[in-house]
Amino acid sequence: MNAPTAPAPLTFAAYKSAYKPIWCPGCGDYSVLSSVTKALAKVQVPPHEVVVVSGIGCSSRIPAYTTCYGFHGVHGRALAAGTGLKVARPELTVLVAGGDGDGYSIGGNHFLHACRRNVDLTYLVMDNHVYGMTKGQASPTTEPDWDNKLSPGGTGIRSFHPLVIALASGANFVARAFAGDPNGTADIIAQAIRHPGFSFVEILSPCVTFRPEQREWKQLAHPAPVEPTDDAARAARRIMTDDGFNIGVLYAGDRPAYPTLPGKAKCTPADLEAEFLL
């Protein structure tokens, strides 16, 4: 008797769509796309059981560049859409992706509450410290003295620290990755997908068009010299004191994830009428 042949394992190519990304040459997001496909191949979840949810911005174009289901919504609300989807359809693997403007500025409130709520999502932020789609304005992670047309001489306001905010808000998995290391990033994304609860991966993804100096990130990025911790206080201290280029999983907690559907039906809708009946 012949045993049924196991289907060939999915390779990263199975997750890459035929559409040519509309990104500038040299954009870090190409590499992140490649890391996402590699990570999904590691997890071996079929493409039609994955949804990539995004908002608006250069990096938010990513859903259509995969063979997964995609949801390209409005600016800043990707986490909200992803939350509704995952709670309603927990058997799907839901990746939420976008940029620093989408996630930390217009969507900043949703970021805080997604961390708190701890729905089993993976949130990938391709952070290039700039608004690229609108041609070069300051984002929440931009340095205060970065000169640009909208804020001549710089914004003068300190930049946002997403990893500390995520940790303080209750994210269950916090990591920093670098687009210049696609295999390392794929590893981190795969871990994030497998980790229960809300997993946040801040990916340094250079914008060589508006921030050409970010080419130097290649020299600055280095593996975190320590193992991941489940102690949030220790993780916070490390993140607050590192040089901003520590790459790796920085915190992995064990908070239980937010409950999802389908709940157990205890009665039919008609049974609900009893409480109205006189």
């Binding site: 039609h48 800043g76 709670v87 949703h110 049974d271």
Partner: protein
């Protein structure tokens, strides 16, 4: 148009009447809402229908409060012109309700002398004042409450039998036998006190009680209608006066295997609902005007990406924070037109508390069938009031979404079908993967700024709503005559009553209550107005929003007249009847009591 209402004479008030109106007032915490709810329950036990409207000052706790109860032999969804009885447990700030609790010379005003004199704003009506010591009486019965004495008085004056009052109290009691005994005694003391008071009208005799009646609020009814329609995911942010809808749905959804998620804001709640619905689960959010304003970008996404969602807007006074706990029909213009771009959407409005069940159920059905957002315009008056209603039959509207089968050859999510509705692939289905997009797109869902794709998709989204057969449920059409009154929402009940009074004066007026407000239904309305020479549009807002909308979207006979008044006071049957008679050309209104 200014309404002037004749006062009914004292003699008329004592005749048998189709309804009796009672206002129970006092400071917050005095228990008037509990007493009002029990009065409603007791009336139902006695075979009556009823409505209880809640009103309170702006304070969250401890302000003045009043339960406005109207009891009748037939279903009742509007408040009358005058109250037959105002009973105040105390008078603290109750004078602020002077406009909300109009009295007549024939009215009875009952207060506790230990709580001071009745305010002049009420006594000026000429109403007869009766002093009864509620507090002292309750104090004499250890463990009893003042509001139960008041309930005994109010119930008896309204003609509700003492046994029904006692049964309503016993059925709702959750605090142990001793305390129940004390409060039943307090109730009976109230019943005894009221025995000597005459001058209250009595209800005319009517048909026997139906077997199955409900006591329900409009918010609960809308929530239940949504669940009947198939909603299993709700995301929402608390807001007055929609919160009770959500608080009712949270445990109810859990019982039927669904869930309610409290979002961080309305931007999140609408996008969460869209995300869940994209995943194939019928979804809803509920809010009021300020929340609806925040949701508009998300609703536009649901239009463009063709994701079904239901948004219940329990309207309150606007603009901005407005008057949060008072009713107004002033979100209509915003609901029918408040999205950027050309964005066809559905807007429906229930016409009564009972109708909140069927209309919300219908909204779920339409959202799912047409892959479109549906805005349900309820309002504070319907949402927060409780009514005795006949059990609404299941309208049978179910969530039925056209979905794509696995491995459909040449699948295109936004295919330009004849109906405009195209099969929606649900994530998890193999071989029909697509990206839902708020960017304009080709039929395949690829972002496109090509003029042909834009035109095709705009046409498709408009066509699917315009061509749908909405059946007879699009409006309630009643009566005949060459004049017609068009209205919508909670105002319908007062208009219906006014039309009835006009008919009693020999003026036949047709009533058209629009349940489907968008898309416009010109052919259906033309048929409904067959033989009608002129139209009066009635609504509760300052700008005449329905009037303007109808004039823009429909060819109406004659020169359409408008009667509109903002909240927070409800439109009353008397002012509407007067308006209708004036409009109908009844020249001499002297001596006509409407």
């Amino acid at each position: 148009m200014q309404a002037s209402v004749k006062q009914a004479g004292a003699a008329d008030a004592r005749a048998a009447r189709p309804s009796i109106s009672i206002a129970l007032a006092g400071s917050g915490g005095s228990g008037v809402m509990t007493a009002g709810t029990l009065l409603l329950d007791a009336a139902a036990k006695a075979g009556l229908y009823g409505l209880m409207v809640r009103t309170s000052g702006p304070q969250i706790r401890g302000g003045e409060a009043a339960a406005l109860v109207r009891l009748a032999r037939a279903p009742v969804d509007s408040l009358d012109d005058r109250f037959d009885l105002l009973l105040a447990i105390d008078w603290q700030n109750v004078n602020r309700f002077a406009d909300e609790i109009p009295l007549a010379a024939a009215s009875v005003l009952v207060g506790d002398p230990d709580e001071g004199e009745p305010p002049e704003v009420f006594t000026a009506s000429g109403a007869r004042c009766v002093a009864l010591p509620f507090k002292k009486t309750a104090k004499a019965i250890a463990g009893s409450w003042t509001n139960m004495v008041a309930l005994g008085v109010a119930g008896t004056l309204a003609g509700v039998p003492a046994e029904a009052l006692a049964a309503a109290l016993s059925d709702s009691w959750k605090r142990g036998d001793e305390a129940l005994k004390a409060n039943l005694a307090a109730l009976q003391a109230g019943v005894d006190m009221a025995a000597g008071i005459d001058g209250m009208p009595r209800l005319s005799a009517g048909a026997a009680a139906a077997a199955k009646r409900w006591q329900i609020s409009g918010n609960e009814a809308a929530g239940y209608g949504a669940i009947r329609g198939g909603v299993r995911f709700v995301a929402a942010y608390p807001i007055t006066p929609a919160t009770e809808l959500l608080e009712w749905m949270a445990p109810a959804l859990a019982k039927v295997g669904g869930t309610l998620l409290q979002a961080e804001d309305e931007l999140a709640s609408v996008n969460m609902a869209i995300g869940a619905s994209y995943g194939g689960v019928p979804s809803l959010t509920a809010t009021a005007g300020p929340g609806l304003a925040l949701m508009t970008e998300g609703i536009g996404l649901a239009v463009a990406a063709e994701v079904p969602i239901v948004v219940v807007d329990v309207m309150r006074g606007g603009p901005s924070t407005g008057i949060p706990a008072k009713s107004e029909q002033s979100d209509l213009a915003f609901a029918v037109s408040g999205l950027h771009g050309d964005a066809p959407r559905l807007v429906v409005a229930p016409t009564s508390i009972a109708d909140c069940v069927a209309t919300t159920q219908w909204a779920v059905h339409l959202a799912e069938a047409l892959q479109s957002p549906v805005i349900v315009l309820s309002d504070q008056f319907m949402g927060q009031s409780r009514a005795i209603i006949d059990r609404p039959a299941d309208a049978g509207y179910a969530a039925a979404r056209l979905t794509a089968a696995a491995d459909t050859p040449d699948y295109k999510r936004y295919r330009n079908t004849e109906s405009g509705v195209s099969p929606m692939a649900i994530p998890g289905t193999k071989g029909v993967v697509y990206t839902a997009d708020g960017l304009e797109h080709s039929e395949a869902g690829i972002p496109s700024s090509q003029s042909r794709d834009h035109r095709t998709q705009l046409d498709k989204r408009e066509r699917k709503l315009a061509q749908h057969d909405y059946g007879p449920f699009w409006a309630d059409i009643e009566g005949d005559g060459t004049a017609a009154v068009i209205t919508f929402g909670s105002t319908t009940a007062a208009v219906r009553e006014a039309v009835g009074r006009a008919r009693a004066q020999g003026v036949a007026v047709r009533l058209v209550a629009l349940r489907l407000l968008a898309p416009a239904r010109p052919a259906e309305l033309a048929a409904a107005l067959e033989g009608v020479a002129r139209v009066l549009v009635v609504e509760q807002n300052h700008g005449g929003q329905l009037h303007r909308y109808l004039r823009a979207m429909y060819d109406l006979p004659g020169k359409p007249a408008s009667f509109h008044r903002p909240g927070p006071l409800p439109l009353r049957p008397g002012e509407l009847a007067t308006a209708i008679l004036e409009w109908a050309g009844v020249a001499d209104l002297e001596g006509i009591a409407v």
